[in-house]
Chain length 267, copies 2
């Protein structure tokens, strides 16, 4: 068969090292590259433009083992980072060090992109590889000199920034304080980058109670009920939320019942 | 004198109409134009670039009498609007129609710019001329075809979007619920575009109490104390805040005393 002959030929012609390191690396890079081009930031770019971009922009492909830090809170954001494969953990701390919020983000996604421009160009969260991950980054200088030349890239980037801005605006407007249950959900919704997925909140029960302006006992009771309903998992100084979206839906249902009951009382 | 001769000459050569309408209009446009170019979005553009832009982009200069609506909530945002002179009022309503929040914005400033791109391209607020105002708008199509060709414009716009995004992110993280006083301030800070300046909140006291999860009586007491301190002015179904920044500073001072007292109690 021709394919066998082809391999016999290249086996004779090429070093063994080529098969062990170079080809696998090429295959990996090719896959990473395909994922990259499927991301919203590049959607709509023609093959010509992509070829032009790749010819001029240096892409830093990197692999991180589970547990290693990818980007650190407070470090300057000088590159645009794409999560291509695997899952990462975002760790954010409030300014008084009362709590640590952990979020989990899956590929493909942009990482910390809103620190690239504007006044605050340092990462707000620390990003750690939760599983083994593939990441690619592009230096800010290439964004300015090369990528920005492409109308579609510019428009995509501006749309992504505007979308996030509109999401944050909506959240600020949707804030309620009406009761303990919704305060717990809103506390999380205000601070999480994504309003869905697994979250872990490392906090002392008395600090949590103080932050949301309730007693330690009532917060504890409420969280225990939420645990019974399968919406949170309680550990020592930690509340895990398996999926924030489920908790959000629960809040909406709760508010509906709440206002319904209020109407009955008022009648 | 030469200047008199010059005016005699043009008086003879030109129609009277020219002096009554054309020249004043030219002077007004020139002033508006100068203000426009001083705005952050155009900062750093060279004279050459500005001349190029003005040659290709149609600028809609408009004057509005006090009281007239400039842009309406829900209308599609198809233009970038600059407030060049005067003061406008932003009117925003929550989705349940429980309250109306009025903010006052002074020239020079951008108006509703974060509705131009992204998914939600309708104005969130209604913008009304509070005094007589001068406004200029540029069609979205010119942004895409002409202004975007200039590196500095693109960078300025992206920086403005990123700054606002970072401000909103900070506000979401600074949210506290610890006590009644801070809740009132945070309620406003969450929803106001600018964290300073005069605001008017049209709301029934019982709705306000329900939204921030307090009793009608305690909210009323607190607002009366704030009025005595000169931070708010109470009217029927309206709370006026002469300057939100003063209320914000008061909140910070209040929180410091609050945590100081807590420490004394804990000792």
């Amino acid at each position: 068969m021709n394919i066998i002959k082809f391999y016999q030929y290249i086996c004779n012609e090429l070093e063994l090292d080529y098969f062990i390191t170079v080809i696998p690396k090429m295959v990996v890079m090719e896959t990473m590259y395909e994922t990259l081009l499927k991301m919203p930031l590049f959607q709509g770019l023609g093959e010509d433009e992509i070829t032009k971009i790749v010819g001029k922009v240096k892409l830093h492909f990197q692999k991180y083992k589970a547990g290693s830090v990818i980007l650190r809170s407070g470090d300057p954001c000088n590159e645009l980072t794409f999560l291509l494969k695997g899952e990462i953990m975002l760790e954010s701390t409030d300014k008084d060090n009362n709590f640590v919020l952990k979020e989990f983000q899956s590929a493909p996604d942009l990482v910390g992109f809103y620190s690239l421009f504007g006044i605050k160009t340092c990462y707000f969260s620390t990003y750690t590889a939760e599983t083994d991950v593939d990441v690619v980054s592009i230096d800010k200088s290439f964004i300015l000199t090369e990528l920005d030349k492409h109308d579609i890239f510019r428009l995509n980037f501006r749309n992504i920034l505007s979308n996030r801005l509109q999401q944050f605006h909506d959240r600020l407007w949707q804030f309620t304080y009406s009761c303990l249950e919704t305060k717990i959900v809103d506390f999380l919704l205000a601070r999480c980058e994504k309003p869905y997925g697994k979250k872990q909140l490392k906090i002392k029960m008395e600090d949590f109670a103080a932050i949301i302006g309730e007693t330690r006992l009532s917060v504890s009771k409420c969280l225990n009920q939420l645990e019974k309903d399968g919406l949170v998992i309680l550990r020592r100084t930690e509340v895990e939320i398996p999926d924030l979206n489920l908790l959000k839906l629960w809040k909406e249902k709760f508010l509906m019942t709440f206002s319904h009951n209020k109407e009955i009382v008022n009648e």
